[in-house]
């Protein structure tokens, strides 16, 4: 009986894994074959990858630029914010956290419409890449704040700071030399989350982009709609290659931050 149950569970697990893996592998295969409809017998090639680079290099660079700028913004805004929230626990801090986390609950499309309604007429801002950046920071900031806050709440910040203060450290020194270094695992996990999400963000970006500013996922949507399947697949492969190492690093960093939370060290 237990054995039968285990086998049924394994079957469901394997089916789910196949459901996730097979189309991804098909896409990788399609991006590397000469002609997808004639199959692998038509031979392997990297020409589609070169075509993708020729067509979409700009969007790939733009996505990297926005992801790094977004990381910088979320660090500058999020790390001090998490510190203040951790140091002043209470109703107000919880309310602030709730408000800042609204972009996690409100669909990206609605947020993008809201940004367009307010800033759509400021042409200089609307047409520059910083408009897309604002959307990305809005969407990723809660992840940074939560990740850093999670570490701040488990380390004994108060004792550490009291020790530093008794040795004559100023509030600013306590923030930069005590709090930030101790929160590093949370900052790292938050940073990887922010970069990963920014590179893959589509819902907001699709509404905020202009014909001259296409990010990687916007370019992907474009290639799915108008390019031959091999090019669309090769572009997807480029995206996989960029995002998968980030995801692996993210899992490791998150596991490390979690362990610190559990041991309380």
């Amino acid at each position: 009986m237990r054995r039968a149950l285990g086998i049924a569970q394994l079957a469901v697990t394997l089916l789910a894994a196949a459901f996730l893996l097979v189309p991804a592998l098909m896409s990788i295969g399609a991006g590397l074959t000469v002609n997808y409809f004639r199959g692998l017998s038509s031979g392997l090639t990297t020409k589609w990858l070169f075509e993708v680079w020729a067509l979409y290099a700009d969007s790939i660079w733009l996505s990297l630029l926005i992801a790094l700028a977004c990381l910088l913004c979320t660090l500058i805004i999020g790390v001090p914010a998490a510190y203040v929230l951790a140091k002043n626990p209470g109703r107000l801090s919880r309310a602030i956290e709730e408000v800042v986390s609204l972009p996690l609950a409100i669909p990206g499309l609605a947020l993008a419409l809201a940004l367009l309604q307010l800033y759509g007429t400021f042409q200089g801002f609307r047409l520059s890449w910083t408009f897309i950046l604002a959307g990305h920071v809005l969407y990723t900031l809660p992840f940074m704040i939560r990740s850093v806050l999670a570490v701040f709440t488990v380390i004994d910040l108060r004792t550490l700071e009291e020790g530093a203060a008794s040795l004559g450290a100023t509030p600013w020194q306590r923030f930069t030399q005590i709090a930030v270094p101790n929160a590093m695992p949370g900052i790292l996990a938050g940073a990887l989350t922010v970069v990963t999400l920014s590179i893959g963000e589509f819902n907001l970006t699709w509404m905020l982009h202009t014909p001259f500013l296409k990010t990687l996922p916007v370019g992907l949507a474009d290639s799915y709609a108008s390019m031959r399947l091999e090019i669309a697949s090769a572009y997807t492969l480029v995206f996989f290659v960029m995002i998968l190492p980030l995801l692996v690093a993210l899992q490791l960093a998150a596991a490390r931050a979690q362990r610190i939370g559990e041991t309380g060290a």
Partner: protein
């Protein structure tokens, strides 16, 4: 005591970037969105019009139904897999977990494309169907395709949450139940699932909220079925019904947000949607 006042001063400075950003790019835009939805001749009556319009209501209903179906399916699949993987140690286990979680941060557009590769006109299912059965199997551009796409990005998220929760369950409890003669199903029903309930509520709510707001997948599949985000998009770009699009966004945002609040009451943990 020298540091008491300066700390408050520093806190204010450190919180300033967050305050400015949140005001400028979150609160003011949302206020503007709500205001824009009341700027037609119908005024706030627009919400009544929107909520009594058959097409919009149908879209809302379809969105809720497909999101609900996806959450339940993802919970069932991910819980089954998590309960299999969590207690066992075998060769290839981490590879299997990797296979189940790698699409974690894939955007909806990519997932739409992957669903087309399986169930599109030139997809895997269709070529198998043609070879073996001589029939046409195309499901990517229908509600089935949308369901599978949403399921694709829900499984990894739900699985990670449920596995983390399953790890914290006390194995002594299931051991005790078993030694007292409970059947595997009874153990599952009376011990394991109640222990996982907060994680299931939290991750189910995330899956639901994500599916409610998902846009990229529906956009790539270019389905003729109307889910609310697609309706908002068409109203905004093609019909230039800006007030209606804003009103529908407010409804979608409010429904999703309230649902997450309720879910958090149940689970006590952090609940967030993404994607």
């Amino acid at each position: 005591m020298r540091s008491a006042t300066p700390t408050i001063g520093l806190s204010a400075w450190l919180a300033l970037p967050m305050a400015v950003f949140t005001l400028a790019f979150l609160l003011l835009p949302i206020a503007r969105l709500v205001a824009a939805s009341g700027e037609t001749e119908a005024g706030w009556g627009l919400y009544l019009d929107v909520l009594s319009n058959r097409r919009y209501l149908q879209a809302l209903l379809d969105t809720v139904l497909v999101s609900l179906a996806v959450s339940l399916a993802a919970l069932a699949v991910a819980t089954t897999a998590a309960l299999y993987l969590q207690p066992r140690r075998f060769y290839g286990r981490s590879a299997l977990i990797g296979c189940l979680t790698f699409p974690l941060a894939f955007p909806g557009v990519v997932i739409g494309f992957l669903i087309i590769l399986i169930g599109g006109r030139q997809g895997l299912a269709n070529s198998i169907g043609r070879e073996l059965l001589g029939t046409r199997i195309v499901f990517a551009y229908s509600m089935v395709g949308l369901f599978l796409g949403y399921l694709y990005f829900s499984i990894p998220r739900v699985l990670l949450t449920v596995m983390a929760a399953a790890e914290k369950l006390d194995p002594a409890l299931t051991e005790a139940a078993r030694s007292l003669g409970a059947s595997p199903f009874a153990v599952l029903r009376d011990v394991t699932l109640p222990g996982l309930a907060p994680a299931l509520a939290a991750s189910g709510a995330i899956a639901f909220a994500t599916a409610m707001g998902a846009f990229g997948t529906a956009f790539t599949l270019a389905t003729d079925i109307d889910v609310l985000p697609m309706v908002i998009y068409t109203e905004f770009t093609l019909s230039a019904n800006i007030a209606t699009a804003c009103a529908l966004s407010v409804v979608l945002g409010a429904v999703t947000w309230v649902l997450l609040l309720i879910a958090r009451r149940f689970s006590g943990g952090a609940v967030a949607a993404a994607g």
